[in-house]
Symmetry: C2
Subunit: 210 residues, 2 copies
Amino acid sequence: MLLTLLGVSNADREPRRSSRQEARRAATRAEILEAAWELVREHGLAALSLRDLAARVGMRAPSLYSYFDSKHALYDAMFADGYRQALAELDPSGPDDTRRALKAWARTFFDFCNADPVRAQLMFQRPVPGWEPSPDAYAPSVEFLERTRRAFAARGITDPQDLDLWTALLSGLVSQQLANEPGGDRWARLVDRVCDMYVNDIETKHKERQ
Amino acid sequence: MLLTLLGVSNADREPRRSSRQEARRAATRAEILEAAWELVREHGLAALSLRDLAARVGMRAPSLYSYFDSKHALYDAMFADGYRQALAELDPSGPDDTRRALKAWARTFFDFCNADPVRAQLMFQRPVPGWEPSPDAYAPSVEFLERTRRAFAARGITDPQDLDLWTALLSGLVSQQLANEPGGDRWARLVDRVCDMYVNDIETKHKERQ
DNA sequence: GTCTATAGGGTGATAGAC
DNA sequence: GTCTATCACCCTATAGAC
């Protein structure tokens, strides 16, 4: 289960290994993944090279192929890793009061993106020419969206357009912050205001229907 | 002046040329620029290569250096070109009614981005590792923002935070559309609603102050 | 699993002939 | 201005020794 979380559940199609070996392997994989994040934070997503990555973990480039089938598989693992971190850090439940709950969640999400702009870029844009996430890598991403959908449904927000609006509002604040002042707080200060605008709009819509 | 618009106003530091030669040169530069847009639309921004570009205009790669000092200079020219197109196509004036004017402008802006996602990516994100626009290339971008600022001021919207909010709302709709359904209209249908939310919020704020 | 060696490509940029 | 030739790198991926 821990191995699954680390993205090393390929035991089925790999030669049989003792659990000891498997744990070692998973640890190395995680180490490579962490080094990859460091490098893209330093030089940008598209500038990642296997030579640099291998050097960072004290290997030669070909050795990486024991852990990842290709560079695209590495991007896949990073993409899934980003969403696993999001699932671990972002809890869409919260206070009963929808307004307060959305503000808390929005702020956490904003900080999550702002804390690691490159991670956000990989998760929410398509910044590597020639690569897009494989179906496997999409799994945690789908789970993340589904969890959000359920949390909104529990608060009576079920219209898909309302959800699209919510994602647009948040991604707007984040994308402006990352593009114009990465790591800063110029758009962070607008998070509460945007949440109020959103809830006001939804409430008005509901009243008009009655 | 036309030459300035085409981004070839370097006559000062270049050898003296007849206006005939200069026009020829500007035309070739424009042709290269157009070919560059075609290529990045096909293969992505970061995948542009000088060899491909030269082939597209019937040259060899080194000949491009007669027109652009470096690959970064080419990205600079494209960046400025994008904003010049925006200045030509997007008119922030409009009906007296602020609500209607903002809706018209927002829709035009959304369509401008959606019509050419790669252009929007170059203008509003930082998608090429190792490159950022030079101060020169920024000029049309600054003019674009300044024009927006003036149009809002003419409607009584002067708080910089209100402008930041506006850019966040629009860039959110655009970024979701481009990332999830490039060229489609899933978020286009929310443009009017977001404008209404924005104007409602500003009006409420003004009333509270009285 | 890790290595060396290398295949088989790619890249931006420059020198110098014409 | 355009060319050929080339420099000096870069890259991902594989073969095969250990």
